[in-house]
């Protein structure tokens, strides 16, 4: 039987397209392409395959590029989604220098993609939804007018519903926000707890832009008094208050009464944090915390007790009379009875801090209550089309970027094999405690001639401005295991005179942090840390306002030492 499609000639063409000799001779190669393109009797599998071969070709001139694009245009209208997506990918990659052509192609492919999204085959629908999300990352408004196509129906399987909610959350704009929110609100009372929670988180995501309406909806949901709803709503509130301080008032009014309906650790932590940081606006905050203190013996999650300690101490600063008794009892319990060392140490730490005087406590504990700048930095990370064009129509969007990274990391690790013990020994060779770490850093100036100035204070705005004006001078990937503990990291960085500008909270995905440092000659080092997902690697991009490689290298090695140390403490 003939190969590919129905003609023997296709077989030859494929051979020709992949032959390096012909590929080297552009004229011959172009001829082959022309013949392929003009071939009428190719079935859809053949077409998809040929479009795939064509990816390897790089046109000589702009003229030739547009020539090829014109010839291929009909593939974009094919009735088979596989062919349409193959053609789209080819267009995106060929036209990588022409953003308007790319946008044009994405507009053309909208119809077929939407049709696939409402296709009868669930699986195809899912793949299409994943690709829609991918496009939305670069062109947020692309599907906004078609938002109704992404409303979930009762009979759809779970994984499709979750994708649709994500899409809805991303395509929201001034015109459709009302309808989208109304729809999402319907999902919040769904029978499936997972789906309901996903919908609530989605509303929380939209709340960053449309705060008032969302907070109102979330507040109404609290009225349901369902455990699984209340806990997620409170967590959403915590993130919101941090990113959009203007909604603090509304959130504080909604909180009283929630504590009865929260049982899980995450929700409790969020509620306690909110009560601690904004307790002066919530009349019954001290009493709620007191209840928690009363039940602390039966508390199973150490993280909740830690959160309770910090929150109560914070509230003590603003409402001392009401908290003194409870704080005393909690500290007593933590120091005398608690068996978890971390909690005990935290209790001891606060106790000694209190001994140092109330002003000292205030200086250390009264951090900013919210930090919208971090959210801004994250939001601006709109990805250009070229960053994912090569992933289009592959399994990457279907798995999701984070999961794909883990998968390919496994593959990479298997191929590297022997290198693994290396990284392990690197982690164990670091010094154990920060004091030693300090000595090591002090040694560094001798070798690398890098002295970081201790009190380099940059404002977030200035950092942002400088960050966007500079190019990345160095990028590196460090091995990283497990989650990040922001506090530990911040402390360790401070020891080596690196200032933290902004940091995601623990457990966020992707986890990001922005650091700055200045050496004695006035050279600035701006750094971004990016942890894509758990068990992955820490990606570091450093920007420098004066290009000097030797100081840059010493700066990198300082960072390396810090990460090595922290990694070691954790493991």
């Amino acid at each position: 039987m003939p190969y590919l499609g129905s003609e023997d000639v296709v077989k030859e063409l494929k051979k020709a397209l992949c032959n390096p000799h012909i590929q080297a001779d552009r004229l011959r190669y172009r001829n082959v392409i022309q013949r392929v393109i003009r071939m009428p009797k190719l079935d859809q599998w053949g077409q998809a395959e040929v479009l795939n071969f064509l990816l390897r070709y790089e046109p000589r001139s702009e003229e030739e590029l547009f020539d090829i694009l014109n010839l291929l245009d009909s593939f974009l209208k094919s009735s088979s989604p596989g062919v349409v997506m193959g053609a789209t990918k080819l267009f995106l990659i060929l036209a990588k220098k022409f953003p308007h052509v790319q946008t044009d192609v994405l507009v053309q492919v909208k119809g077929p993609l939407l049709a696939a999204c409402s296709s009868e085959s669930r699986e195809l629908c899912f793949a299409a939804l994943c690709h829609v999300r991918q496009i939305l990352h670069s062109l947020p408004g692309h599907f906004s007018s078609h938002y109704k196509k992404f409303f979930c129906s009762y009979s759809e399987p779970h994984y499709i519903k979750l994708q649709k909610v994500e899409v809805l959350c991303e395509l929201v704009n001034d015109e459709n926000v009302q309808q989208v929110l109304e729809e999402l609100r319907g999902y919040c009372t769904d029978v499936s707890a997972d789906f309901a929670q996903a919908a609530i988180f989605a509303i929380g995501g939209i709340a960053r832009t449309y705060t008032d309406q969302c907070v109102q909806i979330l507040t109404e949901l609290l009225g349901l008094r369902q455990e699984h709803i209340t806990t997620v709503v409170v967590q959403t509130f915590r993130d919101l208050v941090w990113l959009c301080p203007q909604c603090t008032e509304a959130v504080c009014q909604a909180l009283p009464g929630c504590e009865e309906n929260i049982q899980d650790s995450e929700g409790k932590q969020a509620l306690i944090w909110l009560l601690g940081v904004h307790g002066e606006r919530i009349p019954n905050a001290p009493y709620v915390l007191e209840d928690f203190v009363e039940n602390v013996k039966s508390e199973t999650f150490p993280a909740v007790t830690m959160e309770l300690l910090t929150a109560l101490l914070r509230l003590f600063l603003s409402r001392p009379a009401e908290c003194q008794d409870a704080l005393g009892r909690l500290l007593h319990y933590c120091i005398e009875e608690e068996k978890n060392m971390a909690v005990r140490d935290r209790g001891l730490f606060y106790y000694r801090l209190l001994l140092a005087g109330i002003d000292e406590v205030k200086r250390i504990l009264c951090s900013p209550k919210s930090d919208p700048s971090l959210g801004l930095l994250e939001d601006q990370a709109e990805r250009p089309v070229n960053s994912w064009a090569s992933d289009f129509n592959t399994l990457v969007p279907v798995y999701g970027k984070a999961r794909w990274a883990t998968i390919s990391k496994y593959q990479g690790a298997e191929r590297r094999g022997p290198e693994l013990p290396d990284t392990a020994s690197f982690a164990t060779s670091g010094p154990l405690i920060p004091e030693e770490n300090k000595e090591r850093v002090q040694e560094l100036p001798d070798s690398g001639a890098l002295v970081l100035v201790p009190n380099c204070q940059l404002t977030a705005e200035y950092f942002e401005k400088t960050w966007f004006s500079l190019k990345v001078a160095h990028q590196q990937v460090f091995p990283w295991r497990g989650a990040v503990h922001p506090d530990t990291l911040q402390m360790a960085l401070q020891v080596v005179n690196i200032q933290t500008i902004a940091m995601s909270r623990a457990g966020a995905h992707p986890w990001k942090a922005y650091l700055s440092a200045q050496d004695d000659t006035g050279c600035l080092f701006l750094t971004e840390l990016l942890l894509e997902s758990e068990n992955s690697e820490m990606q570091i991009s450093v920007k420098q306002n004066e290009p000097r490689t030797e100081t840059l290298n010493s700066f990198i090695s300082v960072l390396e030492t810090v990460f090595g140390t922290i990694g070691d403490i954790k493991s």
Binding site: S79, L124, K148, L162, L224
Partner: protein
């Protein structure tokens, strides 16, 4: 490029297993796949999955599967290939197997194992697709399909007649559509038949005040032909059929769709002028045309629901009165109508007053189900449901508004089938065959129109 292909029954028993490249694993991958699939947490997508072999083996495999008629059709690959093409290939394989074995199902597959392997051998070579056209394959397939036993009452539900698996298909012309597309050399006696289905899926969202938020119609014209290949046929569609928002045809409102795509074998010379599709279909099943229509429906919606909810928070008594009006033309009817209404948590008892004896209502899965086997066009049905919801405290501090429905109630969704009705109004005017059988009787032509609900949601 596919490494392996296998078919699992709904219980996970491997029915078919084929390794194309011999580059990975053994038969146990099928078991591995099923274990992974059933062990998935609810929020993760089962469409793609990955396994890595041992820690030091370079043996990564992606599973990509579709579910079709209760079977899992799974392909594994170690490459980062296009998900769209692969999913399309799997569903094409499902159609092909259906064509050759009659209908796709656990029984037919296990009766025709040899045939299935033969087909797979021809379709895929070393993991690459060679051809999926029924036409080409017919020359290479020697094995005859084993047709399932003739009519038995138990089989009735599984006779997946051509088209949607519907109530309607059980009363369709004959069970002929579920016989395999055999090569003509063996069965001269068999009837020449053509089945043409216009199937529409309707998704609708109606707001609580009765205004229409979303209408979406996905339509398909599907053809199953038992005629010898190469016989030409012409399908005439309604002449007022317009594509796009601007086109205008004929007088009156016309039948408007937003987008149309045709199968590549359809010739469109007469489409512009007379709305006639010309094609030479291969034997087997084929989607001739797909179309979509949104927001702008020419006919009134088939159903309207008028709910009224009374809720006494003090006693926890919830009373729901549902009035369902069917706005179809009086001659049409809707079948298998089922209303699904999610209820607040903790509903314990249900008392009901229904307007007809054949209706049925029950509680289950945190929702109320109201079954109406048959609803005549123009008729109006009602149901009064009383429930006790003891553990549901109201939203405190918002005043006693007894009329407001409790949270967690609704939205209602309907599922139904509308035989002989298309929501877009598209009809097949005629189906003409140029083929003149020698000695045989005229070929039988069956044309059916059918709409069914995809998601028909009414907010309360």
């Amino acid at each position: 490029m596919i490494s392996q292909f296998f078919i699992l029954s709904s219980k996970g028993d491997p029915l078919i297993y084929k390794d194309f490249r011999g580059d990975s694993g053994g038969r146990d991958v099928a078991e591995l796949f099923y274990r992974k699939l059933t062990g998935l947490p609810g929020d993760e997508s089962p469409v793609v999955m990955v396994t890595s072999g041992g820690e030091w083996h370079h043996d990564d495999r992606h599973f990509i599967h579709i579910r079709h008629s209760g079977l899992y059709l799974v392909a594994t690959t170690s490459e980062n290939i296009s998900p769209f093409s692969l999913l399309e290939l799997l569903s094409r394989l499902a159609t092909l197997l259906g064509d050759y074995c009659g209908s796709l199902g656990e029984g037919t597959i296990s009766r025709n194992v040899a045939l299935v392997y033969e087909l797979l051998d021809e379709v895929l070579d070393y993991g690459y697709v060679q051809t999926t056209s029924t036409e080409m394959l017919r020359n290479f397939i020697q094995t005859e399909a084993v047709v399932s036993k003739p009519f038995s009452l138990f089989d009735l539900s599984s006779v997946g007649l051509f088209g949607a698996e519907t109530q309607q298909s059980k009363v369709a012309p004959s069970s002929a559509a579920s016989r395999p597309v055999l090569s003509s050399r063996s069965d001269q006696s068999q009837k020449n038949e053509v089945f043409l289905d216009v199937v529409e899926r309707l998704s609708v969202l109606i707001a609580s005040n009765g205004s229409l938020l979303k209408v979406d119609v996905q339509g398909e014209i599907r053809l199953k032909s038992f005629l010898p290949s190469g016989s030409e046929m012409r399908i005439g569609l309604t002449e007022e059929f317009c594509v796009g928002k601007s086109e205008l045809r004929g007088y009156g409102p016309g039948i408007r769709v937003d987008e149309v795509s045709f199968h590549s074998s359809v010739l469109l010379e007469e489409f512009e002028s007379h709305r006639i599709l010309r094609l030479q279909p291969p034997q087997g099943e084929l989607t001739v045309m797909r179309y979509q229509l949104s927001d702008d429906l020419p006919s009134p919606l088939p159903f309207r629901l008028f709910p009224s909810v009374q809720w006494d928070r003090g006693s926890g008594r919830l009373q729901v009165y549902l009035k369902l009006r069917c706005d179809l033309p009086p001659k049409s009817q809707a079948l298998n109508v089922r209303l699904h209404l999610p209820l607040p948590r903790g509903v314990i008892s249900l008392s009901q007053e229904l307007s007809g004896p054949e209706q049925k209502a029950e509680l289950g899965d945190g929702a109320l189900h109201w079954d109406l086997p048959r609803v005549q066009g123009g008729s109006q049905l009602s149901g009064l449901f009383q429930m006790d919801v003891p553990g549901l405290p109201g939203p405190s501090g918002q005043g006693p508004s007894t009329t407001a429905p409790p949270l967690g109630l609704g939205p209602a969704s309907l599922s139904f089938e509308l035989p002989r009705h298309t929501c877009s109004g598209l009809q097949v005017r005629f189906l003409r065959l140029a083929f003149r059988p020698c000695g045989n009787a005229n070929p039988h032509k069956w044309v059916r129109h059918l709409s069914h609900s995809d998601a028909y949601v009414i907010r309360i």
